[in-house]
Symmetry: C2
Subunit: 472 residues, 2 copies
């Protein structure tokens, strides 16, 4: 299939998907026949079939033998989204490190649901190997000598190029490479905070952020956050206004663990507030390329005129977590961040950066992303349905429009730390809610990873998990 | 030439070298003829010739036409070694960051003398490329997925194997990989100190250590250090005894910038003192494989029964600085160091670690090291002679028995910061002494790098440098 056709069938599928999601088309509605679709869009039967196949794999439509395609999506089978989180501002219980160990020291075969990175089978391993081989030939000295502190230039140019639609004017000189996104966040926090300072974050928040803050002697102010729309702006402003937060750290797009995504208005407002109160905003934008909508959501950085946003990313969620290739565009804090990299590492691993740089230069990355988004979008819908089918009545779940994790809130008094132990005995793991906060909360919640190849085993794991929860 | 012969000619050369260095053979003495050497050792003429060639390239002997080989080494042409450093214990002037920038932001063609890493031409680039290709085939998932926190197992086994002669009982489970040695030191300092603590170090000390300490909010206690025998043990004990130092950081073998090497007795005593006062000893052992003597010097770690030593290393001085492959055997601080790595990086770059691991498995590393040691030993002797020939009367210089840098002390009031500006105008750079201390001292000193391929240009740069100093 040519590039052009590929584009056309997605356009058609996306148009129909929008009509299904906004209820123009409703469950049970019959869709146009393949021939009608061909006439309507002026495309070949193959293209029309591809469009329907795409919608079918997303579980939005179903074929009925001898009859045609019908809308299958059922809003009633989609769990309701949890409400805005209400983290306590007073008592801090600390991170439940023991629970973190219980989950991540015992990852066996059933590990897949507990992680937050795409499974190996989703990554373009062979093409990355080729890129690495190419890098040994094209990189000066094959990357054996020290790289510049700011990092590989080819990669930095590609980052700037990829970021261009959302941040015109960003150049490779604004970009510093890092050893993965966590390393970027670590440099940023070291660059803009002092030991004892408070950092405002979404709540729940990835336990990695809580561990990093603790390692740096920082306090964390957990902000109320909505599973769909992200951090509560009033709480965000209050934290900045009263001077309690010396920096904020937000995952504006497809947050971990909620899967929330801030609206453009909220992003713009968050940047304006950060400017107004002169509080650096560290933006973890590691999952934004895995969007399920028509375009990449904007980042806070795209509204940043004054350099108050430190924009961090990596290829760990999309290409190669093991390469440890990440970056930061630190705005006006460039000198400080660069110094942190120099003082702690001298420079980064040049050869893997060059390989990723060359991978991003061609169309390979976009083609890979299209496929990845499609698979994960389908998985997200399958998880939604499985939660609706197997989990206790009243279970809520976030419905991320990108990324690879979703957030589940079980009804009543179900303690997911206990549930985790029971699940582990059945060789199933997941991430209990309590590890995503320093407060005594989210005990009935869990984070599930859908960054995998869906199989009968996945369905069966989710079913078992639901049954264990029902029997609680 | 077979492996066996290679070994024999080195044995012969080393035996003669020892006799020259300990003055059994003296300048002008005639050496045995090639035929006599063959008879004496029972070797072929080729092997005998190789032995003499080796000594000739080290500038220890010279051939005289129609006559034979004569001892050329002249103790009187070797500069005297500087005296024990006497850092002030009171006033701290801070690091001269401006001077650091002046030196390292302006590295052009004449950079070679200012660095502290081997030139690219000394590194086995083609063989490393092969190892990298092999790693994409042999490493599970080609290293695209996250590695274990502790790092690549193949590399960790090789580190333990290489360390075995000097630390029996060290296993791969004691080793954690890092992103270069500086990163290892950074984890260690984070693991065993708190902001505001004092760390005892040699003086002069690599400015990278001073920058790292500053970034972590640590104070530095500079200890008197001898250019040949390393840190002064009385001062070391005093720092531990009065409780002022919460940790020590020592470069026991071929220190940067002095090139000093602690005796086995002193290493043993330093470990015993660290144990007695319960003060962690962080050992930077990054240059020990580049020894000029018959065997690798022992490390402090080899005397460590209680786990008080955190032993750090990397391949940045011997194989591939740009790969950022280092490690630490943190003794009893393993959990803390591992946590620092997890919190700041999740894990390391798997593919470069695997490549280095496979490189170390074969004899390639040892063969490469033999060649590297030989070249650097010759260079060190050439530098000594050039300093004696061209630098002002009374110039002193350390005479490292390994590593790639030496320390020069100019007589009188010559300010090497000013000399550096003059040299830079002639396209020559070096590292002025003031950047290796937080005190107001070492202004008449400089560090010179001999980790390069000696050429007429090198000779001419040293000559110009000497002339500029003489004209000061």
């Amino acid at each position: 299939m040519s590039e052009k056709n590929e584009f056309v069938y997605i356009t058609i599928a996306d148009a129909i998907e929008q009509q299904i999601l906004n209820n123009t088309l409703r469950t049970g509605d019959k869709l146009p026949s393949l021939r009608m679709l061909c006439d309507q869009y002026g495309v070949s039967q193959n293209t029309a079939l591809s469009a329907y196949y795409r919608l079918e794999s997303k579980m939005l439509i179903e074929p009925r033998p001898q009859s045609g395609y019908y809308v299958q999506y059922t809003a009633s089978r989609i769990p309701r989204v949890p409400e805005l989180s209400r983290p306590s501002a007073i008592a801090s219980f600390g991170l439940n490190e023991l629970l973190v160990s219980q989950v991540y020291d015992n990852l066996g075969e059933g590990a897949s649901l507990a992680l937050a990175t795409p499974a190996n089978a989703l990554l373009p391993v062979a093409r990355l190997n080729k890129a690495l081989l190419l890098a040994t030939r094209e990189l000066n000295g094959s990357g054996v000598a020290y790289d510049k502190v700011e990092g590989n230039e080819r990669l930095r140019r590609q980052i700037a190029r990829w970021a261009l639609p959302m941040r015109p004017g960003l150049s490779h000189q604004d970009v510093i490479t890092t050893s993965g996104c966590l390393n970027a966040l670590s440099y940023c926090l070291m660059a803009v905070t002092e030991r004892g300072d408070t950092v405002a974050m979404e709540s729940p928040v990835s336990f990695g952020m809580l561990q990093l803050a603790e390692a740096l002697g920082l306090k964390v102010l957990e902000l109320p956050t909505h599973p769909a729309s992200g951090v509560d702006l009033n709480a965000f402003e209050a934290a900045l206004e009263n001077g309690s937060a010396k920096a904020s750290l937000l995952m504006s797009n497809f947050s971990n663990p909620l899967g929330s995504c801030m609206s453009d208005e909220n992003k713009k407002a968050a940047v304006a507030l950060s400017c107004q109160y002169n509080v650096p905003l560290i933006e973890n934008d590691v999952s934004a390329d895995i969007y399920f909508g028509p375009t990449r959501p904007r980042s806070c950085k795209s509204y940043d005129e004054s350099g108050i946003v430190l924009w961090c990313g990596s290829v760990s969620k999309t290409l190669a977590p093991g390469y440890r290739v990440g970056w930061v565009a630190p705005g006006r804090f460039r000198e400080n961040v660069l110094r942190m990299k120099l003082y702690h590492h001298i420079s980064g691993t040049a050869i893997t950066q060059e390989a990723i740089g060359s991978f991003l230069e061609t169309g390979r990355y976009e083609r890979h992303l299209k496929q990845l988004r499609h698979i994960l979008n389908g998985n997200m819908n399958r998880y939604s349905r499985a939660i609706s089918d197997y989990f206790p009545e009243g279970t809520r779940a976030s419905r991320p429009q990108g990324g690879s994790v979703l957030w589940v809130e079980l009804p009543g008094e179900i303690d997911t730390a206990v549930l985790h132990r029971k699940a582990l005995a059945r060789n199933i793991s997941f991430a209990p809610g309590r590890i995503f906060t320093l407060q005594n909360q989210y005990q009935s919640c869990m984070r599930l990873n859908y960054g995998l190849i869906w199989s009968e085993q996945t369905e069966s794991q989710l079913k078992t998990l639901g049954e264990l929860a029902c029997a609680f």
